[in-house]
């Protein structure tokens, strides 16, 4: 990534972090619902999404804000959706857990763990049959990698040569259970071999490394026509949902991963390389804070859906 791209990535990661922390604060204040955040995973979202092309599609899950904002979503509309307001991407009917934004190519968001894995094959099949260029990226976690649908999806995508970038955001936590309690292996990407496809594991807290790995994976999909399994190793710094005191988390492990914070790492690098000054960083952070404040103001002013919306969009 060029210095300009890295600065843009930092801005997006700051926006995502501020958005996640803002929704957590709204929940604490009784102004919003509990959300599932992905604080600490911002480099994974921004690194992968920045490597996609405009025609590509994305399937995501209940921790979707990073993918949406990295794709260019308007934080006013994501915030409105989380607060269940009419100006949200789904008219306020999703809330935080299944936000799709078809206009951005973020489709069929499912909060059922592994649900996105079952749907992505069909999205990719439609693209392939219509001979539309591009690929479909599917974000899921190490928890979904324990579902049977992971096996079914990757196996079928391999058999049918579907252009899918499987992105396993291995954040070490499956709701309240540590990944190490659920699998004998350390690298989920090693499973790619079982399906006859390629895979790779990358440091998910290094946005430049994630971006490079995702670009390479995307190029492999275009070259081979086969799917690719990219594992992005990261850590969920907040709880499963808000509020969650994380009493079940080993403090030493949490501390280790806090010291690998992807945003702090990127800031340090850009400052050390002279691409950013303390002053320009402060300005960037202030700009992000203004965007989030404006998003909250917008969302809280947006009307709630009228009660007739209870029964609309059920049948086509």
């Amino acid at each position: 990534m060029t210095p300009e791209q890295l600065i843009h990535a930092l801005e997006q990661m700051l926006l995502i972090r501020a958005h996640e922390e803002a929704t957590a604060a709204l929940q604490r204040d009784g102004r919003g619902p509990g959300t599932c955040t992905a604080v600490g995973q911002e480099a994974a979202a921004v690194g992968v999404v920045s490597a996609l092309s405009a025609e590509d599609e994305i399937l995501t899950n209940h921790r979707s804000i990073g993918h949406l904002l990295a794709r260019g979503a308007d934080p006013r509309r994501t915030m409105a959706e989380i607060l269940g307001r009419q100006d949200g991407y789904c008219g306020g009917k999703s809330g935080s857990l299944h936000i799709s934004a078809r206009e951005l190519g973020v489709v069929l968001t499912s909060t059922i763990v592994g649900g996105e894995l079952a749907l992505v094959t069909g999205v990719a099949l439609a693209r392939k049959m219509a001979r539309r260029p591009g690929i479909v990226a599917c974000f899921f976690g190490d928890g979904a990698a324990c579902q049977g649908r992971f096996h079914e999806s990757v196996n079928l995508a391999g058999v049918w040569d579907l252009p899918i970038l499987y992105v396993c955001e291995n954040n070490q936590w499956q709701a309240f259970v540590h990944r190490k309690e659920t699998m004998r292996i350390d690298k989920i990407a090693s499973r790619a071999a079982a399906y006859g496809i390629e895979g790779a594991t990358v440091d998910g807290n290094d946005v430049a490394a994630v971006h490079a790995a995702a670009r390479e994976a995307r190029a492999r999909i275009e070259a081979t026509g086969a799917p690719f399994l990219l594992e992005v190793v990261t850590y969920r710094l907040r709880g499963h949902f808000e509020p969650d005191d994380q009493a079940y988390v080993d403090p030493a492990e949490l501390d280790t991963w806090r010291r690998r914070d992807p945003i702090a790492r990127l800031k340090d690098r850009l400052l050390a390389e002279g691409h950013l000054t303390a002053q320009s960083l402060t300005a960037l952070e202030a700009s992000v804070a203004r965007s989030i404040a404006a998003a909250i103001t917008f969302a809280e002013a947006s009307p709630v859906p009228p009660l007739r919306e209870l029964k609309t969009h059920v049948y086509a």
Binding site: G88, Y89, C90, G91, G92, K93, S94, H98, S100, R102, V107, L108, T109, S110, I112, G115, L117, A118, L119, V120, T121, G122, V123, A124, L125, A126, R127, M129, A130, G148, R149, E152, S153, N155, L156, V159, W160, T312, H313, V314, Y315, A316
Partner: protein, 328 residues
């Protein structure tokens, strides 16, 4: 007009829609193997075998449907749909609503069920009411080859997920097929009568028609309503018939508790109570799995004698509970 089996009628309807609409495709376990003529005509892109994995078959259909295709998938036997419940119920049934209308899911899910092949409870389980209870889905279960053809045309053209259940006792029964579409949500009056309404779908339509012949010999004129579509239910047809006869017996193979009969009885009680001359009765399968024994399997579904006995009793003013053919 052509005479063909229900199975051939469904394949014929699928082929017609695939010719008419390039977005229609079909896949499932063994689809390309068993549907050789479709494969030859439409090629391996639109007629596909899949791994034996119902969840991903249904999920792929839902994803493809939301992305511009119109998949028809064969999940073989209704109990296998339990492996695909998330994709059918949580994804195809709910993501239109939850996304604020951004997606639609024009897809058809085929499955056999019902007594007929002695395959036991893990291949034969009439679970159609489960899907009627889930929002966003439509459910059909035809009784004739003509309806199977016509309902399949309509199901493929519909922009919603349609569960298409076929009764194993009927799939190889020949019938006349005219080729006309049958609209979803429209019941058919199979026999006119003024004394009692027999309301059924799939194999029990034929049970009721046989019973109606016997009842006529005893001077009782039964009206036989074939629901054809389970959701959306044709309330108007049910109410029109019950208002005419004043008596209703709902007859289905699926078990009684929270089955479709309960819904029909409730609709009649809510909207035609004043017309009722007797309590609404239900004749159903028992709250038990179906057996692999042909004898037990055949006895599971309501019998002609059950319908005759129930109709006579309700007209005599002594409606009985339960089925005459089964021990209490």
């Amino acid at each position: 007009m052509t005479v063909m089996t229900m199975t051939d009628a469904i394949t014929a309807a699928l082929a017609e829609e695939m010719r008419r609409d390039p977005r229609v495709l079909t896949f499932g376990e063994g689809v390309a193997t068993t549907q050789a003529a479709l494969l030859a005509e439409f090629g391996p892109g639109r007629v596909r075998n899949t791994p034996l994995a119902e969840g991903i078959i249904a999920g792929t259909a839902a994803g493809a449907a939301a992305s511009g295709l119109r998949p028809v998938i064969d999940l073989l036997f209704a109990p296998f749909l339990t492996y695909a419940m998330d994709e059918i119920v949580n994804s195809a049934g709910k993501l239109r609503f939850l996304s604020g209308g951004q997606f639609s899911f024009p897809m058809v899910v085929l499955a056999h069920t019902g007594a007929g092949w002695g395959v036991g409870g893990q291949h034969n389980h009439n679970i159609e009411a489960w899907f009627a209870h889930a929002p966003g889905l439509k459910v059909v279960m035809p009784a004739t080859a003509e309806d199977a053809h016509g309902l399949m045309l309509s199901a493929i053209r519909d922009d919603n997920p349609v569960l298409f259940f076929t009764d194993t006792a009927l799939v190889f029964a020949p019938g006349e097929v005219t080729g006309a579409p049958v609209p979803l949500g429209r019941a058919a009056v199979r026999r006119q009568g003024a004394d009692v309404s027999l309301i059924a779908y799939a194999k029990t339509v034929h049970t009721c028609l046989e019973a109606a012949v016997q009842l006529a010999e005893a001077g009782i004129e039964a009206e036989v309503i074939d629901l054809r579509t389970i959701k959306p239910l044709d309330e108007a047809a049910i109410l029109t018939s019950v208002r005419k006869t004043g008596r209703a017996i709902v007859v289905h193979e699926a078990s009684r508790i929270c089955g479709l009969g309960a819904e029909v009885a409730a609709i009649v009680a809510e909207k035609a109570f004043d017309a009722l001359q007797a309590p609404v009765l239900r004749l159903t399968g028992p709250d038990a799995p179906t057996s692999g024994s042909f004898t037990l399997e055949a006895a599971f579904a309501p019998q002609v004698e059950d319908v005759v006995a129930a109709a006579r009793a309700t007209l005599a003013g002594t409606p009985r509970k339960g089925r005459a053919s089964l021990p209490a």
